[in-house]
Amino acid sequence: MPETAAIRQGAFDQLAARAAAVTFTPCPPAARFVFRGRPAGFAAAGDAFGVALPQTACRAATTGSRSALWLGPDEWLLLAEDGAVAAIEAAFADRLGQQPHSLVDVSHRNTAVEIAGPAAADVLNAGCPLDLRLEAFPVGMCTRTLFAKAEIVLWRTDAQRFRVEVWRSFAGYLWGLLDEIRREHAA
């Protein structure tokens, strides 16, 4: 008599696994700045923010609740806890008062979503042509790039987790497209 119990699968098991292959989680509000300056001020800016600005191209550095993401040779995206705007502005004015630099508050311009799961890279690759294999895009790598028609900042925070920073006016476009790709991926 054939053993049927061993191969029995719940009707929902595979569907549930597919649904968990990628998840989108909106990130909580944060204080965000774009810092640009000259090399003489990079160290002081790192002191003021509390995270040494990474000098390697496309790399992010994190200390506690604050992160500095390399965007260009003299440009960084700074992420901090919500409500820290005034304190950060004061710290930069204090340390960099005489140095030519720009510090632009983009806390409300950007919003972010976390994309996590075994299929996270595949789902992102549907809209972003970068090589997202772990060897080519390791944990801690970040870059400004495109997701379909939206400019994003993509940051790999873990092997299967990405943070996507996007302008808030693109939020609906990004989420809608991601969701469509996720459903197609699960089919």
Partner: protein, 98 residues
Amino acid sequence: MLLIPCPHCGERPEIEFRYGGEAHVARPADPSALDDEAWAAYLYLRNNPKGLHAERWRHIHGCGRYFNVLRDTVSDKITATYKAGEPRPDLPATEAAE
């Protein structure tokens, strides 16, 4: 899709870039000393070579920086990229003749 090697970020897809025209076009030091013809030549006259062409590109959806590219206008092959402000590299004769 073409991969363009940005001197800051490495190889990136072409959709992240914008074309910036011919490279190494120096603005005259004293424009008021030029006659109209020389000024018009600076503003509008550009080389249109068949073969290697030095041109500016901007990694607008990446690091945001302008840089220079040596591209073959026939084959679209990019032979060198270098940061803005750096001199045009001398390519070996064999490579330039390709």
